[in-house]
């Protein structure tokens, strides 16, 4: 991504004309005409009228909207500045805020409904996943569109170790993680010869191949039927299977993940990653071995995806290839981008939002994917750096 940044500044092309402003009438007519064959005249005319109204309202209030946006943005900045200060622990109130947060997180199972705890557990798994992807995309700047492959390998290796060989959660955990990290290396060694979009496509291909293998290797993985009867984890001679217990279990791993990734980001390796992301050639010229650091990023990211996979398999007690589609990779990427590339607290927020939102929108479930798609486009146009991202790429939280 570094070289594209340079290219962009070199090839900044001005529009030959200032963009023509189409009339709302024309835009609404055009879009409804496009819609016409899919749902008939009645729906298209409804769409036309509503689009027209919407565009007129938008045009009438666009002056106010700008002021409102600026106000909101200022508010957001100040909140985030405050949050960042607390997060960095530079304020005395930081410790208090942290302890309050922990008390709150700890107390949730005492008053929340089971359903809500279930959603939170899922959010925790996604936080770990998104933090893992953040290492690859956000820190090292390598776009990985097949991240779900590592999630799948983690989940399946625990499932297989447990159901075929009868290995319990704790011995299986390091084994699965070693396997996933190894697979991260295996993918990274050839893939890292490629750059940018090509890398993205090769990782996408890897993700699909992994899913297809799990889907077709009937004798081992039972194909599309999936593997059931996976044991939940043991802790002090007792099964962690009750929701509230599992909630604490996941909470522990999330805190561990965030803590370790924060430390790694601040370390020599983390700074090398950021340098590679900003400008690979410059990084190489000051003596960073870019190939091996990219390798570490891939393997380290894969490690966390594997952890999330193991936790997922242990929680669901069932895995099937259906859970590991390309859409899942996209969803994780959305969490990272919504939160702000490279920003650890941002990504926690991004994951929680993207897990909670569909649950809250259950009534309009059919429309949520449409909302996700258009939301992505709008996010890229109006706020490509995400919620927590700074003005420049380099100033992630």
């Amino acid at each position: 991504m570094a070289e594209s940044g340079i290219q962009n500044s070199k090839f900044k092309i001005q529009d030959s004309k200032p963009g023509k402003i189409h009339s709302p009438f024309f835009i609404a007519l055009w879009l409804s005409l496009l819609f016409l064959p899919f749902k008939g005249i009645k729906a298209a005319s409804i769409l036309f009228v509503s689009l027209l109204l919407l565009l007129f309202i938008f045009r009438a209030f666009s002056g106010y909207a700008k002021i409102l946006m600026d106000k909101l943005n200022a508010m957001r900045e100040s909140i985030i500045e405050r949050f960042k200060a607390v997060y960095a622990g530079s304020e005395a109130s930081g410790m208090i805020a942290y302890s309050l947060l922990f008390v709150f997180l700890f107390a949730i199972p005492f008053f929340a409904k089971d359903y809500f705890i279930d959603v939170l557990i899922l959010a925790g798994i996604y936080i770990i996943l998104a933090q893992g992807l953040n290492i690859v995309v956000g820190f090292a700047g390598l776009l990985n569109l097949g991240f779900v492959a590592f999630y799948a390998i983690g989940a399946y290796s625990y499932a297989l170790l447990n159901t075929k060989l009868g290995i319990g959660f704790w011995p299986a955990l390091p084994l699965s993680l070693a396997l996933v990290t190894l697979s991260g290396f295996v993918l990274a060694v050839p893939a890292l010869r490629l750059k940018g979009d090509y890398l993205a496509i090769v990782t996408l291909g890897f993700g699909e191949i992994v899913r297809l293998v799990f889907n077709n290797w009937d004798s081992l993985t039972k194909g599309p039927n999936g593997i059931g009867g996976i044991e939940p984890p043991h802790l002090f001679e007792m099964h962690v299977s009750r929701l509230s217990h599992y909630y604490y279990f996941i909470l522990f791993f999330v805190v561990l993940t965030v803590f370790i990734i924060r430390r790694v980001k601040a370390s020599r390796i983390g700074r090398a990653w950021l340098a590679i992301r900003e400008d690979e050639i410059a990084a190489a010229s000051i003596g960073i071995n870019t190939i091996s650091y990219k390798l570490y990023a891939f393997a380290f990211g894969a490690f966390w995806a594997g952890l999330a996979g193991v936790l997922f398999a242990a929680k669901m007690q069932f895995v099937s290839p259906e859970s590991f589609t390309f859409m899942e990779s996209v969803l994780i990427l959305c969490m990272v981008i919504l939160g702000g590339l490279g920003s650890i607290p941002g990504i926690i927020l991004g994951s929680v939002i993207l897990v909670m939102l569909p649950e809250m929108l259950r009534e309009v479930q059919l429309y949520r994917m449409i909302a996700l798609g258009s939301g992505l486009v709008l996010l890229m146009i109006f706020r490509p750096q995400g919620i927590f991202g700074g003005k420049s790429v380099s100033s992630g939280g």
């Binding site: 991504m1 070289e3 594209s4 940044g5 340079i6 962009n8 090839f11 900044k12 092309i13 529009d15 030959s16 055009w30 879009l31 496009l34 819609f35 064959p37 899919f38 749902k39 729906a43 776009l143 050839p190 010869r193 490629l194 940018g196 979009d197 090509y198 993205a200 496509i201 090769v202 996408l204 291909g205 890897f206 699909e208 191949i209 297809l212 293998v213 077709n216 050639i281 390309f326 859409m327 996209v330 990427l333 959305c334 981008i337 590339l341 059919l366 429309y367 994917m369 449409i370 996700l372 798609g373 258009s374 939301g375 992505l376 486009v377 996010l379 890229m380 146009i381 490509p384 790429v393």
Partner: protein, 323 residues
């Protein structure tokens, strides 16, 4: 020495000769050419957009899916108003033209809404935006047309020729002919017309092209319109070939067509044509001789191998990294 070589070559070629004689092989080649022609048509859209914007237009596969759906919708409409019983070729022709027009408009609109505001954004932004458009279009079709498979109206006879145990349906012949015609006309357009020249100029150097008075926005719009039109043709032909259409066909076809484009060297138009046909052949042959279950995986495996051996593709020029 010579006899040993001849013996070796002969022993290697003998099973291959047997392959060529067997009707299964020829049958698979014809099936492969059919699918390959379709891949090539979609791959052209990818390669043209990439050549000009350096953007992987993820939503291109969805345009192909829209083309298939629009064909079914228009043919259904023509059947309802009685045009198909009046003249089948006319209604087929109209359905083709209408889906091309609609798909091109979708492509044009997509570029204006989702990519144009991001033209100077970092590389990741338009790619994510394209993924967003792809998700949007898939679910848009699912919501308006239903999640179940759509059946292509059975108006075209599934007849064909039978030569020595190899059957070629008329639809297959039609697909191969139309693909070749489309590719030829695109080639003539790119090499012989003023607009084609402008497109090549923009692909080489946007700044220089705009300095000599080429309207970049128009060129980009034309690229999207042509690419989407080709995808619409591909979609309609596939719908009539397989007879079933689903809202999710765009994704896998898009990935395969992209593989084809990369195979031939992305940005290169002859490369995309060759890559598409090559991929179609490999896919149908390996499905027949190795294992059909992994049919979708071969495309990815080939893609990865090609990228590792020659990242610039078979026809592409390797680019120097600029500081």
């Amino acid at each position: 020495m010579l006899p040993i070589y001849t013996y070796l070559i002969f022993s290697v070629l003998k099973p291959l000769l047997f392959l060529l004689k067997s009707s299964v092989f020829v049958q698979q080649v014809i099936n492969g050419l059919t699918v390959g022609g379709v891949y090539a048509l979609i791959a052209l859209g990818y390669t043209m957009v990439y050549g000009i914007l350096e953007l992987i237009n993820f939503a291109h596969g969805e345009i192909y899916m829209l083309g298939a759906y629009l064909g079914i919708i228009f043919l259904g409409f023509f059947t309802a108003i009685g045009l198909t019983s009046f003249s089948l070729p006319l209604s087929l022709f109209l359905a083709f033209i209408l889906s091309i027009i609609f798909c091109s408009s979708y492509g044009y609109t997509m570029e204006k809404i989702a990519y144009k505001p991001l033209r100077n954004a970092p590389r990741l932004s338009p790619l994510i935006s394209a993924i967003g458009v792809s998700i949007f279009l898939q679910n848009y079709v699912m919501l308006t047309q239903g999640a179940t498979d759509k059946v292509f109206p059975h108006i075209v006879e599934n007849a064909g020729l039978e030569i020595g145990g190899v059957s070629v349906t008329y639809i297959q012949l039609f697909i191969i002919t139309v693909s070749v015609l489309m590719m030829l006309s695109l080639h003539i357009f790119i090499t012989r017309t003023r607009m084609g020249k402008a497109m090549r100029a923009v692909a080489q150097d946007k700044t220089m092209a705009s300095l000599v008075g080429i309207n970049i926005d128009t060129v980009i719009s034309v690229t999207f319109v042509i690419g989407s039109g080709l995808a619409a043709v591909a979609g309609l032909m596939v719908a009539s070939y397989y007879g079933l259409v689903n809202y999710s066909i765009g994704y896998i076809a898009g990935i395969k067509a992209f593989t084809a484009a990369v195979l031939g060297g992305i940005g290169s138009i002859p490369g995309a044509m060759f890559g598409g046909i090559f991929l179609g052949l490999i896919e149908s042959l390996s499905a027949a001789y190795i294992s059909p279950e992994y049919k979708d995986a071969y495309a990815f495996i080939i893609l990865i191998i090609i990228l590792l051996i020659k990242p610039s593709g078979l026809f592409g020029k390797s680019q120097e990294e600029k500081v």
